[in-house]
Amino acid sequence: MDLNTILQVLDSTVRLGTPLLLMCLAGLFSERAGIVDIGLEGKALVAAFFSAAIAYSTGSLMLGLLAGILSSLVLSLIHGVASITFRGNQLISGVALNFLASGLTVLIAQDWFGQGGRTPSLGDVRFHELTLPFAEALRPVPVIGPIYYDLISGHSILVYVAFLCVPVTWWVLYRTRFGLRLRAVGENPAAVDTAGISVVRLRFSAIIIAGVLCGLAGSYLATALQAGFVKEMTAGRGYIALAALIFAKWRPWYALSATMLFGLLQAVALRYQNIDLGGFIIPVQFMNALPYILTIVILAGFVGAANPPRAGGDPYVKER
């Protein structure tokens, strides 16, 4: 394998890892606040549809992005109302929202565009790849040039936003008042409540952040990675992000590594299909299943324990 091939695979890793990263960080905010979110998939799916649909209809990418984020937020808020206000089962709510997204997107797409549950191709109305400063100039420099030009430069703005979200998340979580409270409410909401802080408001804030991040992820899928929405285009990415979150032990920098690892697996599967290792063939299906298998291994505790936030999944009820 030459440098060029490696760079292509890594470039593809970044592209495929970005939506995972955004959703993983969304899950991180939510679960750190004690709200388990298996509805990442659904939120990204509605965002993908609405961003593409609105971008196509209005010709404005920004309006599309906004619509994507807003639609994801609506699902987030339903999740919040169900799991915070009405203290419902967070897992069931997440499952319901995933189905809602999967059904609604096709229903509306069919109604609006009549193309069997997809949007028309966006053509030019999509996020373009940015060329970073000096990329052209540096390109002839051996090794560094191609790495800078092919791998670091040449992504859409959303990719850079996603990567920027990692240090920002870390900083918010560990260096701000909001982060302290957020982590506290996921560990022991009673401590937060008796300290005079509203558990409900904190948890809703976390859920809203998760909604925005999933909105970015979905919009990225439909308006940057591809040029339009197709049925079920999230293709289980929300669940892979969930797996990555466990893999990352609910920490921002680990989330980056985990999502890029899973992105790499996808990139390799995409490029090579069946991998021939000197006569022994690794089927592409195995590569596709590998993120899930790895997560099972992690969950089984064979590679370090996965300790989720302690209050995760439980609605907060003042004890009597």
């Binding site: 897992l91 709510s93 809602l100 059904g103 549950g117 969930l242 099972i296």
Partner: protein
């Protein structure tokens, strides 16, 4: 005192949730520019007014009874088995292997063999998540989700690379031998000159599903094991005190749950398709969640909810055929049912409880 009479909990709450889901679905139909009343009429006409419609409705219901019972049994042990889809897919594989590789002399024996295969493979697919939950505390919701994806990848691989007949393009197994074909409702109930259930996939497995309902009822409310499963579901510390091994209950409950999910493979793969196809579970594993929630984890409730969803599925297919409403409307309805009966339960329950409290005060 309980805050509400039992009948309100069992009947009123699911009913109100269902009405809420129906209203929202009607609004969705309106938004598409179709008439909800007409859509409902079409659905009833297509699913219930002809025996062939019933044949489809009951076929779908059979699948949902199995997966709904599966989710219910796990729920009684406080386990959320979201892996019905994968377990059903593996059940289908078990059926296919039994039908493809054993030369059955008669359908009844083939049914027995494939049922064992379906249950065993479904249970096996539930075993690993169950073991990890019981022994290593890995959250069963996450592991069963992961196992759904792994099952999909595994079946994809097997159908493409192993089971696909030479020269065939479609990722599906060879067709099963004629001796394994189960009696359909058409062959069972038609008389000369009067063909019933024409061309519909409903088959004898429906009766096995009914037997499964009775079995689960006896298991949960009348057997020692059911007593222990419910104890564990309500209080793990209580179970330990009583000498009930939590890990044993987790594993047994999940094995039963997985076996029930797997059993839908008999209906779908052997009874209807006659060969193993990709995505043989058709989402029924997930509908089991909605069915169990609506049916309040009681076999009778599961039966009713399954019939309802069978009707929705068949009616939805009719809608897609005659109107501009796509089949995905059913997924939306399913989502709304799960949302209202599962996650937003308190939204319906709290006002009702307040209402009953006020009624009680008036009486007093």
């Amino acid at each position: 005192m309980d805050r509400m009479p039992a009948w309100a909990d069992v009947v009123l709450i699911p009913l109100i949730s269902l009405i809420l889901a129906a209203i929202l679905s009607a609004l969705a139909i309106l938004a598409i520019g179709e008439s909800p009343a007409e859509a409902f009429y079409l659905m009833v006409d297509g699913a219930l007014m002809r025996s062939s419609g019933w044949g489809y409705t009951l076929y779908y219901a059979t699948n949902f009874i199995f997966t709904g019972l599966a989710v219910s049994v796990a729920f009684h042990a406080k386990l959320f088995n979201i892996g019905g889809e994968g377990q059903a897919a593996l059940g289908g594989l078990g059926v296919a292997l039994a039908c493809l590789y054993i030369p059955w002399p008669h359908w009844s024996l083939a049914l027995l063999g494939s049922a064992v295969g379906a249950a065993a493979f479904g249970a096996l697919w539930a075993l690993i998540p169950a073991y990890l939950q019981a022994k290593r505390g890995s959250h069963i919701v996450i592991t069963t989700i992961m196992f759904n994806f792994i099952a999909a990848a595994l079946l994809n691989y097997l159908l493409v690379n192993v089971l696909r007949p030479v020269g065939a393009m479609e990722p599906a197994s060879a067709s099963f031998a004629a001796a394994t074909h189960l009696p359909t409702f058409q062959s069972m109930f038609s008389s000369e000159g009067n063909t019933l259930f024409r061309g519909s996939p409903a088959n004898i497995t429906f009766f096995i599903a009914l037997i499964a309902c009775v079995f689960v009822w006896l298991l949960i409310w009348r057997s020692k094991l059911g007593y222990e499963i419910r104890s564990q579901g309500y209080s793990e510390s209580g179970a330990k005190y009583a000498g009930i091994s939590p890990s044993r209950i987790i594993i047994i409950a999940m094995l039963i749950s997985g076996a029930l999910s797997g059993m839908m493979g008999v209906n779908a793969t052997q009874g209807a398709a006659g060969r193993l196809i990709l995505n043989s579970a058709e989402g029924a594993g997930f509908i089991g969640i909605a069915v169990a929630l609506m049916g309040r984890n009681h076999p009778f409730g599961v039966l009713l909810a399954s019939l309802l969803f069978g009707f929705l599925y068949q009616g939805g297919a009719e809608l897609a055929m005659w109107t501009s409403i796509p089949r995905e409307l059913i997924i939306v309805i399913q989502a709304l049912v799960i949302l209202f009966t599962g996650a937003l339960d308190n939204m319906v329950r709290w006002p009702l409880e307040a209402l009953f409290a006020r009624l009680r005060k008036k009486e007093a």
